[in-house]
């Protein structure tokens, strides 16, 4: 008999009720799992505990010092008053929103378009998923070149005559500095300051940093294929009979999608959003290779902050504190997801 891996849009496949075992052999299963569980307890949980301790310690130089820093949690307090950290939190938030929206929306669109099974749909599917197999470093380097303000996309705008059109109407040519541009679009600081006067003193503009947009494009290029694959797998579980039934009930093709298929894709969307959302909260390599911290920390994220503080500035407690915040953000997304997937099985 040939075993086949079932495609499942859920993280954890259901497990059939196992056969009852005899008492004596009951000790074997936990014993076999023991090495993995012990490794996980040490290398994940104990190491996290050490990192939390470091974040509370005085170890802020090359000289190791595990004594607790007074007052308790001062490193966190320090970090949360750093303008760079404010920029990081803003960037993670904006990046996550734009990236999730872009990759999920386009992924769904591609899955729906490919669902029509036109000629060459397998080739197209492979093309869309291809970037997923590449390293973030490769992606970052390629897109850095493409978004170089002197060439790349800006050259395309010239080539397509867009700038000719704008200048002929008396406007300035559209030539964004992209990753070199420190400005922030849709800044809401003034608006917020009307409600919270304290915001006026903030050095960080709350809005969309222009330099972050190319990074979002690159991330979407790499991971849209993943959400597309999730949606294709999700749609393949919707039975043909269901579509047929809707058709018999008089639904046209468009209505079949809006009333039958899309509502059934809800759970796939949740899984995709959680997996991509946690990738986005952890993002490091792509930005490191593409823009680094960016002009005025316009593309800095907690992942890079941790790296800089720990390995360049050797402020171990500060780096550890930032990594603990990263972990908390990721856990907020992942723990409920794991909990519900495991309870279902």
């Amino acid at each position: 008999m040939q075993a086949k891996l079932t495609v499942n849009s859920r993280l954890v496949a259901g497990v059939e009720k196992p056969v009852r075992r005899r008492h004596l052999s009951g000790l074997f299963p936990p014993l076999i799992l023991a090495p993995a569980v012990i490794a996980s307890i040490i290398f994940v949980y104990a190491f996290i505990a050490i990192t939390v301790w470091v974040s509370l310690s005085k170890w802020g130089t090359l000289r190791m010092d595990f004594n607790l820093r007074e007052p308790f949690g001062y490193t966190y307090q320090q970090m949360f008053s750093m303008p760079r950290w404010h920029a990081d939190l803003r960037n993670t938030f904006i990046f996550t929103i734009l990236f999730l929206f872009g990759s999920i929306f386009v992924g769904l669109l591609l899955a729906l378009l490919l669902d029509r099974k036109l000629i060459g749909h397998t080739i197209l599917r492979n093309v869309f998923l291809f970037p997923y197999a590449l390293s973030f470093i490769v992606t970052g380097i390629a897109w850095r070149w493409i978004f170089n303000p002197e060439t790349g996309v800006n050259l395309l705008f010239d080539g397509l005559g867009i700038n000719h059109l704008i200048t002929s109407m008396g406007g300035h040519p559209f030539k964004p500095g992209w990753t070199t541009d420190p400005s922030v679009l849709f800044s809401i600081n003034n608006w917020l300051a009307m409600i919270f006067p304290g915001v006026k003193n903030m050095s960080v503009h709350l809005g969309i940093p222009i330099a972050l947009i190319p990074v979002v494009v690159a991330a979407c290029w790499q991971l849209t294929g993943f959400s597309m694959a999730m949606y294709i797998a999700g749609m393949s579980t919707i039975s043909h009979e269901l579509r047929e039934a809707a058709r018999i009930d008089g639904a046209n093709e468009f209505q079949i999608y809006t009333t039958v298929i899309l509502p059934l894709l809800g759970p796939v969307t949740v899984s995709t959003a959680i997996i991509l959302g946690h990738v986005s909260l952890k993002i490091f390599d792509l930005i490191f290779a593409m823009t680094g911290t960016g002009p005025g920390f316009a593309t800095d994220v907690p992942g890079i902050f941790v790296f800089d503080q720990t390995f360049k500035a050797t402020k171990y407690n500060l780096g550890a504190a930032a990594s603990v915040v990263m972990l908390l953000l990721v856990s907020l997304v992942i723990v409920p997801y794991l909990w519900s997937s495991l309870r279902k099985s």
Partner: protein, 261 residues
């Protein structure tokens, strides 16, 4: 519309290959989108010369780490799927959580640990790291894989008097080839593409994996863009080839609970 998307998705690949094939003096900002006037392997020759040792490192890293974590994951996945006991689901959750954590949050103690056991800065050290942090994903994929194998097979083996290990070796392992292919491809890709562990655990440039070397290459101002782009192609080639030839297994892997780390 699909055609437009296809052009968008292929565009960076076009840019990388075309720029890589140009001569250094011909890579000008204003002709980025043009095809090279005459083909030159110059960028690739130089990129290959610089990255070749690091490609070797990546292979020496990714192949053993993939094999070891696949075997370990297969055993765990088998027990989790077929020999459930009180609390095994909880243990599974504890294990799987490990694949989602940002590795930044364990790096400081991890480096301390590797220094203690004299593995810091060595490729075997990085193999150990990838095996340990790979258990979660490989156990998960194998658990889902074995869950789909009917229990009747287990029952038959039991009647023959086979225990947990015999059943694994005689019944499950021979059926596991597809699982190993999926996990193997998936882990190979993940480990090959890793950057964070490579850059923090291997400070010595001669020992670094290709992703780190490529990043260094692109960061140095003395290197021309055609070399960087050719380097990107070279570094991407192994996983790209795996994807092109074994793509359907790759898709199964990523759907069976995959995460880009």
């Amino acid at each position: 519309m699909l055609l437009g998307f296809m052009l968008f998705f292929l565009m960076p690949v076009y840019v990388m290959v075309v720029t890589g094939l140009k001569e250094a003096t011909k890579v000008s900002l204003s002709t980025m989108w043009n095809l090279p006037q005459q083909l030159s392997g110059g960028g690739f020759v130089e990129a290959w010369r610089r990255l070749q040792p690091n490609l070797g490192n990546s292979l020496m890293l990714a192949i053993p780490a993939t094999i070891l974590s696949a075997i370990w994951g297969s055993i765990n996945g088998y027990v989790f799927a077929k020999w459930r006991f009180r609390g095994s689901n909880l243990l599974f959750g504890i294990l799987v959580f490990g694949m989602f954590i940002p590795y930044q949050s364990i790096l400081i103690p991890l480096i301390q640990f590797l220094e203690q056991v004299k593995l810091y800065g060595t490729i075997p050290g990085l193999v150990v790291v990838h095996v340990i942090y790979g258990i979660a994903i490989t156990s998960l994929i194998f658990r889902n894989f074995y869950a789909a194998i009917p229990n009747e097979l287990m029952e038959a083996a039991r009647i023959d008097g086979a225990g947990i290990i015999r059943t694994y070796l005689d019944v499950m392992l021979p059926l596991s080839m597809p699982g190993f292919v999926v996990v193997g491809i998936f882990q190979f890709t993940n480990i090959w593409n890793d950057f964070l562990f490579g850059v923090t655990i291997l400070p010595n440039p001669a020992a670094q994996p290709v992703t780190v070397a490529l990043n260094n290459l692109s960061g140095s101002f003395s290197v021309d863009w055609n070399v960087v782009m050719a380097g990107a192609v070279v570094a991407a080639l192994p996983t790209a080839l795996v994807y092109i030839f074994l793509g359907r297994f790759f898709v199964r892997g990523l759907l069976a609970g995959s995460v880009k780390g």
